[in-house]
Amino acid sequence: MPEAPAETAVAITVNGKAIAARPGELVIDAAERNGVYIPRFCYHHRMEPVGMCRMCLVEVDTGRGMALQPSCMLTVAPDMVVETESPVAKKAQDGILEFLLINHPLDCPVCDKGGECPLQDHTVAFGPGESRFVEEKRHYEKPISISENVYLDRERCILCDRCTRFAKDVAGDTLIHFQDRGNGTQINTFPDHPFASYFSGNTVQICPVGALTAKPYRFKARPWDLDVVESTCTDCAVGCRIVIDGSRNEVLRYAGVDSDPVNWSWLCDKGRFGFEKVGADARLSAPLVKETNGDLVETRWADALTQAARAIKAGLDKNGPGGTAIIGGAHLTNESAYAWAKLAKGVIGTDNVDAQLGDGLPAAMVAGMARATIDEACVAGGTLLVIGSDPKDELAVLFLRIRDAVTLHKTTVVELSPRATSLSEIAAHSLRSVPGAVHELVNQIIAGEGDLAPVRAALANDHLTVLLGRGSMAESAEATVAAAAALLAAFPNVKFLSGLRRANVHGALDLGLTPGFLPGRVTLDDGRAWFTEAWDTVPAEPGLDAAGILAAAADGRIDTLILLGADPLADFPDRELATRGLKGARTVIAVETLLNSSSAFAHIVLPAAGAAEVDGTTTNIEGRVSTVRQKVTPPGTARPDWMIAAELAFRLGADLNITDAASAWAEIERLSAAHAGMTAEALGNEPDGLIVGRTEPDVERPAMVSFSAPAFEAPAVDAYSLRLVTTRRLYDQGTLVSHSPSLAGLAVSGSLLANPTDLDRLGVAPSGNVKVSSPRGAITAAVEPDATVPPGTVVLAWNQGDPSPNALIDAAAPVTEVRLETTS
């Protein structure tokens, strides 16, 4: 970190040494920045200090003589004199260490924290050789389970308030709390109310002793046996920095890294405990081909690749490049995404490529809008308008950042959504939009009349950011696009933070895995000359998106459909169309880490390396590129996606010129307008990553797209129907969660939520099952009255297994109208 400029520095003296502290800085931080580490247990620089462990007591003179003060609660002041190792300070610190130890059990040899335990470290360094405490220590049942993934050992607990502060102040899940008093104080949950927080694992990471331990890591390893690489979590698109701890080619845990612009050391439990999928038994370890009897059987790579190349070539010969289509790619690294884009657009020549599954936002908008960083979205005093996204369930750690901004930095949140979300409670304005017509509400706010005047006033902020996501699958993205366009027109300084959630979807879009675009956020037309020179060829016409590809496949116009880590049956909003598309494609090639529901349609399955098995980079919601690192070898013969692309290209008679992730990245940096200047060296110098599109590209590169939106008219509300809204939960029935044993139990199947007045009006019984029908299909679901659901709408959770709302949705319809009938 840079030194404070001299004119604003606060001059203090620590242990006789003059120090330039920053204004407002705490003594404990100022000392540490200058090489004086003051021991501490309760202090954590991402949380408000409480000064209760007293370990950081130092002697301080602010002009009235030396006094013992906790350095974690003391802000520097001019001419302050601090002694951290004076006899009085040492006496106090030694006394506190002894007090902390008297009731602390001597079970370090069987404690997961042993070897990385601050209490143990301080004791070894400064503690007494033997205990003067001859009385009986405190006893509690040990350990108790406080959540699905966390154990609490109250005997080890030193009552530092870190976990409880995290739960209350950071996560907003005040489910663990101090109980009882004095020497009997303990941390615990309310009876039968477990610590069911999406963020519970962070308490394990910040516990300064072994009181909180993670079940998935329990007794798995000793810290000194672990080796570590720093990487980025790719379970969603926030891009939290992590360290991957492993031993003997096995990933054992993830821990959050304190990346200042991104995750502040926090992780969600899905990210933290999702590492289990890396070594899941079900991982694909060899290529599979479908036999005539329909079974997928293992084969050699050479055979599988040859068959795949033959299928692609046959399609090319028969129907031209457009006969090959790719759906997926959002789980790939940037390097692999680029390799596949180059294969598709520069070798095969098809533009029928879409990393999104009809569940995202148009690439033209995501690539073309002025993008905000998380810091910019959370700026003190700014306004964050949230449309179509429930960050807690979709981008969990972003929710923590937003919550911090609102609770501590007076950021105003305005939320427009078809139903209440996790932000509603902290939003200054939480407004309900009619499904499929959020742009109408935006236009009313911009007009700012009556009750909406204060909302408009909140948006008229120099620092206005719009978090734009795709909340409900039951409506098309058109209303959201129209809303964004209206906001841009009304507030020209507005910036957008993408709310798209899938892993590296932003990298995939940036690198051309989307119809109409080439790598670097450039359109086919703008980039044609540049990439024709680089690649020899580019597609002639903009191709089809996922819906278009599936429709074309259903009509028999797709010869080869490649699923690049994609599961259209589960993720595409319209299951009926997805099914017909998968059936209609002549050859389906699936490049996967794990089999999924769509794999049944695959003729060839190619096993890919996954997270923690590849080197490369990933791009988050901000456009921030950060590194991902290989920790373990992929199972069996599974290989990185870029390598599969290169092998296929070779069999199609081309050379991608990609021999490893580094060579791919060098080519990206060389060719992409948006990635210019982001050399491997520059990335290596900045562990927090670099933002795409923020450096001015040199003149000869093609121009990046800018955003414009077509006009959109929402369909009129049909008074006889209810509009369907789908919501996401952090834990769903997705492949990732299902193959992580510690998370699999957390997914719960959802009921159909409906406003009680609607149920009454329609004569539907408020309990039991209802038949939900749309023009597309029908399902049976348990109904649950919920007064927070706006009248005229019903809510079903997405991807929570059956009944699944995608049986009801028509991808071509702007909204999904449903009717309810009580089933007998």
Partner: protein, 455 residues
């Protein structure tokens, strides 16, 4: 001897059977102090209280008028919180003030709110005091009905609500920041000062004045009779009168309002109108001058006046006006243990030294009393005290947020240093002590110069 005929300022209605009723209160001059205050400007009232030099009666003894002046200008709302959580062992005065003269307290609250500009007051009564709660509830209801509290009091712009609130059993809540936490619905765990000085960041982090019951009960008299009349009573730094509870081994244990700063401990313990001497005419062994937290005094300190600064210089404090008297037959090891047990039971658990240290001290003392003590335990006791309150001097250098942990060291230092032979009797032999104890009251016989001169 200085048993003076100073008027009763706060306890004048203690002997009336109906002193708690609004009728009797008004008939005996009630609510005239408020009216006198409203005739002045708020700053005029503050000045009046400042010139009366009214010291806080809760324990810390800080001048009330000065405390009021610490509210940062321009920050509103301000709150007034009444500390009626009397629980310091030996202390018995606020309960009487609340049970026997609730309107006097209410009137004091109103005067304080008017002076400071508090828009709402909370009267925090100790949970265990059911009768006080009833009396105050009735008094508040009557005072609202009679127009003394609420909106536009007596037709003026002065408006304030007083809300009765009571605790639920936690000594620590008597500490002002813990009281605020409790009033916010939380565990009564103290906040660190700074930054959480209540006058700047108190209830709901707004400027808050926390005043003790007895402090506020003085205000009606001061407003009615003038600061000069109040300041004419008492000594240089201790004006007016003060209520002391004299308990333990005296012939007449009781609650006595005496002239502050002038009356001596000897008066309080021996004068026929007060304690009346040690029971059974035994010898005095020691006495606690200001509640369980205060280091002890001994017979040689009897002629020390009840004056805050003088007692402070001795290395102890007048605290909450609780004098507990031990006669010659008292088992000082058991007395010490009982006091330490109290602090161990009442530690809130927030700061490590107090949470762990007080119960460790208690366990060692318990072991000594059970006959399982070791010679090194006395040194250990004192060294643990030294770790809770580094240097063991006075005023203490505490390692904790609030003084509770350090308070537990007072009885140990006082008893071990003075009555080491009694501990050794329990231990069955001599014990060496190497820990240095620096505070004057901790080092046995001590004759204060001024006290000698007075005698």
């Amino acid at each position: 001897m200085a048993v003076t005929d100073a008027p009763k300022i706060t306890s004048s209605r203690f002997d009336l059977a109906d002193g708690h009723t609004i009728e009797r209160y008004v008939a005996t001059g009630g609510y005239q102090g408020l009216k006198a205050a409203l005739a002045k400007s708020p700053s005029g009232v503050v000045d009046e209280v400042k010139s009366a030099s009214l010291l806080g009666r809760g324990g810390a003894g800080f001048p009330a008028g000065v405390k009021w002046g610490f509210c940062p200008p321009g920050v509103f709302p301000r709150y007034l919180v009444v500390n009626g959580d009397e629980s310091e062992p030996g202390t018995y005065k606020d309960r009487l003030l609340m049970e026997k003269d609730p309107h006097q307290l209410i009137e004091g609250v109103l005067i304080g709110c008017y002076a400071v500009g508090c828009s709402q007051a909370f009267l925090y009564v100790r949970g265990e005091m059911a009768l006080a709660q009833e009396r105050i509830a009735q008094a508040l209801n009557d005072a609202y009905a009679a127009g003394h509290i609420g909106k536009n009091i007596y037709g003026t712009e002065f408006s304030v609500d007083i809300v009765l609130h009571w605790g639920a059993g936690a000594y620590i809540v008597g500490e002002e920041t813990a009281l605020i936490e409790s009033l916010e619905g939380n565990r009564g765990m103290p906040r660190l000062k700074p930054p959480f000085f209540p006058a700047a960041k108190g209830l709901y982090l707004q400027p808050t004045i926390v005043n003790n019951v007895e402090t506020l009960a003085n205000l009606p008299w001061i407003m009615s009779n003038g600061a000069a009349a109040f300041a004419a009573l008492g000594a240089e730094n201790s004006k007016g009168t003060r209520i002391f509870a004299v308990s333990g081994h005296v012939k007449n244990p009781g609650v006595y309002e005496v002239e502050f700063g002038v009356t001596t401990f000897r008066d309080l313990l021996y004068a026929p109108v007060y304690g009346g001497g040690i029971r059974h005419d035994r010898e005095l062994k020691a006495f606690i001058p200001g509640g369980a937290s205060a280091p002890w005094l001994y017979p040689e300190h009897l002629d020390v006046p009840l004056e805050a600064a003088t007692v402070g210089k001795l290395g102890t404090m007048l605290g909450s006006g609780a004098v507990v008297v031990f006669d010659e037959q008292t088992d000082m090891v058991k007395a010490c243990h009982r006091l330490v047990r109290f602090f161990a039971r009442e530690s809130c658990g927030k700061c490590t030294p107090c949470r762990e240290g007080t119960s460790w001290l208690e366990k060692i003392l318990e072991r000594i009393i059970d006959g399982l003590g070791r010679p090194e335990d006395l040194d250990l006791l004192l060294d643990i005290c030294d770790n809770i309150s580094v240097g063991m001097n006075w005023p203490p250098r505490q390692t904790t947020i609030c003084p509770l942990g350090q308070s537990a060291t007072s009885p140990i230092a006082s008893a071990v240093m003075r009555f080491r032979d009694e501990f050794e009797a329990y231990l069955g032999g001599p014990a060496e002590i190497t820990v240095q104890v620096k505070g004057p009251a901790f080092v046995g016989p001590y004759v204060h110069e001024e006290a000698t001169a007075d005698a």
